[in-house]
């Protein structure tokens, strides 16, 4: 019981942050500590590993073998058509973890504890997004491996193939930013899990991910053709299989950057107000 406050001054390495450079260095350190923390948590919970790895594999097999036979696609085999779509869909769905983890940590008071500590304000969100990016990158790579095993092939060379993966991951990260805002604004694990993320379903399924948009009723096509997930998936498909790149490339970039510009400040503001 004796050592609680001995050497009170010696234990704290940090003095008040002064210079901008020092602040940035400490902020980066904090973000990495938070990233490591979140990955450690992820690693401890079998359910999270299931959602990251097993569930996406099941999706690939389901679409490839159960629905795939019934869905004709133009100028391609279904598995080649499917893979860019399912990579984007899985990357977007990884953001469930983002929203739920944040809501849960708010409810548990963990975030409040962090906010009472001299941690860079950005570190909690940055760590969250960084660890989620790594998590969804793993998902994407696993799906790609399974895709290869069930007949998928890139037809457009290595460079575009890598770009396609990067674009899929970027979509996932951007959607995580929306989900982060949702989690921070709703602050209740149950509500986030039950209705906070329903928008993800139309966004990913009413897109060109699994079915050519031309096969949908007209009123659905109007939505499906003009929403960001379709635009990104069409670009990913062009990168993987060949086809015109330019139009969808800049549309994708505008959408992704646009969503970041709106939702990152919203998430930061919601974090401050928790």
């Amino acid at each position: 019981m004796s050592a609680v406050t001995t050497a009170r001054s010696g234990a704290r390495a940090a003095t008040p942050a002064t210079g901008l450079g020092r602040r940035m260095r400490l902020g980066t350190m904090d973000a990495f500590t938070m990233t490591r923390r979140e990955l450690l948590i992820w690693f401890r919970v079998p359910a999270y590993i299931f959602f990251t790895i097993i569930q996406p594999i099941m999706f690939v097999l389901l679409f490839r073998y159960v629905f795939g036979g019934a869905i004709p696609v133009p100028n391609s085999t279904y598995v080649d058509f499917l893979m860019p779509g399912i990579i984007a869909q899985s990357a977007a769905f990884a953001s469930f973890g983002t929203a739920i983890a944040l809501a849960r940590q708010i409810q548990k008071g963990v975030i409040d504890r962090f906010r009472s500590m001299p941690i860079a304000r950005s570190a909690v969100l940055a760590g969250r997004l960084l660890s989620d990016s790594l998590r969804l990158t793993l998902t994407v790579l696993v799906i790609l491996g399974v895709g290869y095993a069930v007949g998928f092939r890139f037809h457009n060379g290595v460079g575009p193939a890598i770009l396609m993966l990067v674009l899929g991951i970027a979509l996932g990260v951007v959607v995580c930013c929306i989900s982060a805002y949702v989690g921070l604004a709703i602050r209740d694990e149950e509500s986030v899990g039950s209705f906070g993320l329903v928008w993800l379903f139309p966004l990913t399924f009413v897109s060109s991910a699994f079915v050519p948009v031309a096969k949908m009723p007209g009123w659905l096509q109007a939505f499906a053709n003009n929403q960001p997930v379709t635009i990104v998936i069409d670009e990913m498909r062009a990168l993987a299989l060949g086809g015109p790149l330019a139009l969808h490339a800049w549309q994708s970039a505008v959408w992704l950057v646009g969503i970041l510009v709106v939702f990152v400040p919203l998430a930061v503001r919601a974090y401050r107000r928790v």
Binding site: M1, S2, A3, V4, T5, T6, A7, R8, A11, R12, A13, A14, P16, A17, L26, M29, D30, T33, M34, R36, R37, L40, I41, R44, V45, Q105, K108, G109, V110, D112, R113, F114, R115, S116, M117, P118, I119, A123
Partner: protein, 347 residues
Amino acid sequence: MQDDAAILVEDLHKSFGDVQALNGVDLRVGRGTVLGVLGPNGAGKTTVVRILTTLLNPDRGRALVEGRDVVREAATVREIIGLAGQSTAIQEELTGRENLEIVGRLYHLDKPAARRRASQLLDQFELSTASDRPAKTYSGGMLRRLDLAASLVAKPAVLFLDEPTTGLDPRSRIGMWEIIRTLVAEGTTLFLTTQYLDEADELADEIVVIDHGKVIASGTAETLKDRVGGNVVEFVLPDRSRLADAAGAVAALADAEPSTEPDTGRVAVRVGSRGSDALVQAVRNLDSAGIEVDGLALRRPSLDDVFMALTGHAAETEEPVGGKRGRKRRGRAAQPAEQAPTQGGPR
């Protein structure tokens, strides 16, 4: 202003929509002392703690911790405080050790230092044997201890504990008190909220009582008790017929009339700040009047009595009947405030 004040709060107001949570709170906590903030559910205790720990901005008024404004100098305030909130902020998937090491890293201790500090705290809080188990396997008392340990990683000069023993069994509570006493002996300034009157009495140098977002009384436990009328000499007559004689015999001890209860034969007389001399005089007077008594005792008023005297009602709660913390005091609500309480308090 007062340079020995570790915490200074002036005219603090905060409302949430229609709810006026704080309605002009003033406080001062001397460096190295313990302030016990006492109040029923919904009094505003947590709101004060959240403002002082930079989690919430006040609507009006100001608050300083070690002379730093909690709004304008929030970053500096965070460097000097520690907080263990009303609910524990432990990541239950991680082990006790991991929880503490990560907090250490977030305070920018290097890896070996964070590891050392975690081991030290785990030892100190008797969590060593459980240190490598996920915290979700811990008991409530262990989680509380781990949470307190986490708030101490950076050796804060000012510590905020929001109801640190709520929900603990009596043994764990006393264990927690011992830990808190050790901290205080080493010079930490402590801001402690509690609903337990005996807890404030045990730990605090100064007590403020808040109700409906306002400080309704403050002072040491002793001065608060004096405000209720001070000490009480109490005894029971085996022979009820001599009640009037007995009251007459002890009437000289105080200005106020002794109160008597014909049903139980209990007589109580308020003797203000007089102590054992009043007791001795009571024994003499009763003896010379030839009156036999049982259980003659000098009783200090409990803080329950204080709350009754200050508010005219027992510490009411927002919780429905049977709420875990309101029960004890609710039971006493039937007594009028003027009547000498007939049950022994914590003392």
